[in-house]
Amino acid sequence: MSAAFTPTRAEAAIETTAAWLLGVLWILPLAYAVWTAFHPSEFSARFVLTAPLTLENFAKAWDAAPFARYFFNSFALVTMVLAAQLVLCTLAAYAFARFEFWGKDAAFLLVLVQLMIMPDVLIVENYTTMARLGILDSIPAIGLPYMASAFGIFLLRQTFKSVPRELDEAARVEGASPLQVLVKVYVPLARPTYLAFGLVSVSHHWNNFLWPLIVTNSVTSRPVTVGLQVFSSGDQGIDWSIITAATLMTSAPLLIGFLLFQRQFVQSFMRAGIR
């Protein structure tokens, strides 16, 4: 709220207390998970402050399933998807921003369809398509439906549209082809947008679950979210200490990245939301 309104001391105290309370409530489940993961099984349900810390839950979890491979798969997946998205969305956004071509408006509307109807809800048909292409149970199969991101096209189109035409024309005068103009003029100016989109995309695809669950079968293509689910499936005797350890391991990359680069993360998501 505006700094022009200074609340009374009582108001400030109440608000601060309420905010802090909500903050504590909000971080509580995660804190609970951290507690359980770092203490032995016997203390998973008890809060003895002097309980010994241990890393053995993480060791057990790591041993119990091929998490190293799962991490590699997830990493490969988000990298592949982001790289493809950056290229495809840049080209498409450039087309929409700076070129007049037949059916441009209709095409743009069709692109916007994907904002509403995401691949996540088309699992049945996309699964059949992957089967027909013969690439089921592979990392590309997870990533392909997402590589043309309507969200990315939308964001970049917006950004490209705001680039001053003079820069474009100046480069043109020097004899640059359209692609060269794109690479030399537009892309550098859109760097903040790329960063924003990149973080959103990596976040989303690292955390994706249902589609990878359906499309992958073997350890060589399973991302870490599916690995976690397979690992903690309830048929086994559930040991919460090990499961929370595995859960934290799965979330660690994004979580640590977020904690270290909070401002950038927040700015990125903020920028991604500015329409």
């Binding site: 709220m1 505006s2 022009a4 309104f5 909500l22 903050g23 504590v24 909000w26 971080i27 489940p29 995660l30 359980t36 495809l88 080209l91 498409a92 087309a95 929409f96 070129f99 007049e100 071509f101 095409a107 369809v113 509403m116 109807i117 995401m118 691949p119 996540d120 809800v121 088309l122 699992i123 049945v124 048909e125 996309n126 699964y127 398509t129 439906p145 590589m147 043309a148 096209i153 359209p178 955390n207 679950f209 249902l210 669950l213 359906i214 979210t225 903690s232 499961i243 859960t247 799965t250 990245g257 977020f258 909070q262 993360f265 927040v266 903020m270 920028r271 939301g273 500015i274 329409r275």
Partner: protein
């Protein structure tokens, strides 16, 4: 540049993205509609045309109706609350409150966690007898309860998990919008003797309408799109009390292998999403203030 080549270049640039979009978005939508009019192929024989049969089965399917009702309650439960919380959080974090960096971290952290990690943590939280929730409620003298295991409370539990995950995400968008509001507006209002409440109600909130719309649409789509936590926590139970539409589609398509019926169910989901899109463009666009 020659006009003709602009068309060609434009389309060439668009082609790769357009091809993938066509293959994985537009084609599946059409294919879903097509397949919903046939029966599922079994063994070697091809799929016979059955017209509206799948839809007739759907109308008689109790689990489908339960899933729809649940999804609506789920949407009604998560959307207003998470948006309201997001707005409040953004207002707090944007102001001069002490410890607001920490608050921002606390509110946003659930967003970077995978939904299934969230679901596992909360399942532990809800465990009867020694889960954290039980410990907290017993402190307040509330009776012990099997939260996820009873039909009356399971859906609410799942709604709480979704709110926890989403509110921080929406907070960020409100934060962005709040920072765009010129401080001179606040100063002018204060000079005119307006109260904080008045300033918020009459000036800030209307200015936030575009963000609210954006967040609203996102929230509606998410309430139909996100079922990871159902898969982990309840598998739709007890007795379908937490079955949502996409989860039912997943069960029918990939547990029962009835792909034709799954296609019919998917059509319902697509129709709902299409309605949301139309609603966004036609109705809500008219009522927003633009600066």
């Amino acid at each position: 540049m020659k006009r003709g080549s602009a068309h060609v270049t434009g389309w060439l640039l668009l082609l790769p993205a357009a091809a993938l979009l066509a293959l994985f978005t537009h084609f599946p939508v059409a294919a879903t509609l097509w397949h919903s009019f046939f029966a599922t192929p079994k063994g070697g024989r091809a799929a016979p045309f059955v017209g509206l049969d799948n839809y007739r089965v759907m109308v008689a399917d109790e689990v489908f109706w339960r899933s729809m009702v649940n999804n609506l309650w789920f949407a009604l439960g998560t959307i207003p609350v998470s948006i309201a919380l997001a707005l409040i959080m953004a207002l707090w974090v944007n102001g001069k409150m002490r410890g607001r960096t920490w608050l921002r971290m606390a509110f946003f952290t659930p967003t970077v966690l995978p939904m299934i990690a969230v679901a596992n943590i909360w399942m532990f939280f809800y465990t009867p007898q020694y889960g954290l929730l039980e410990k907290l409620t017993s402190l307040f003298g509330i009776a012990s309860h099997n939260w996820l295991g009873s039909e009356s409370t399971a859906l609410i539990c799942v709604i709480v998990v979704a709110i926890w995950k989403e509110a921080g995400f929406f907070m960020i968008f409100y934060l962005a919008a709040l920072q765009q509001i010129s401080p001179s507006l606040g100063e002018a209002a204060a000079l005119e003797g307006a109260s904080r409440g008045y300033y918020f109600r009459r000036i800030v909130f209307p200015l936030l309408m575009p963000t609210t719309l954006f967040v609203l649409v996102n929230a509606v789509i998410n309430s139909f799109r996100l079922v990871d936590h159902i898969v982990v926590m309840t598998k739709g139970g007890p007795n379908n009390a937490t079955s949502l539409l996409l989860f039912h589609i997943y069960q029918v398509g990939f547990n029962f292998w009835d792909s034709a019926y799954a296609a019919a169910l998917s059509m319902v989901l697509l129709a709902i999403l299409a309605l949301v899109a139309v609603g966004q463009f036609v109705f809500l666009d008219k009522r927003i203030h633009y600066q």
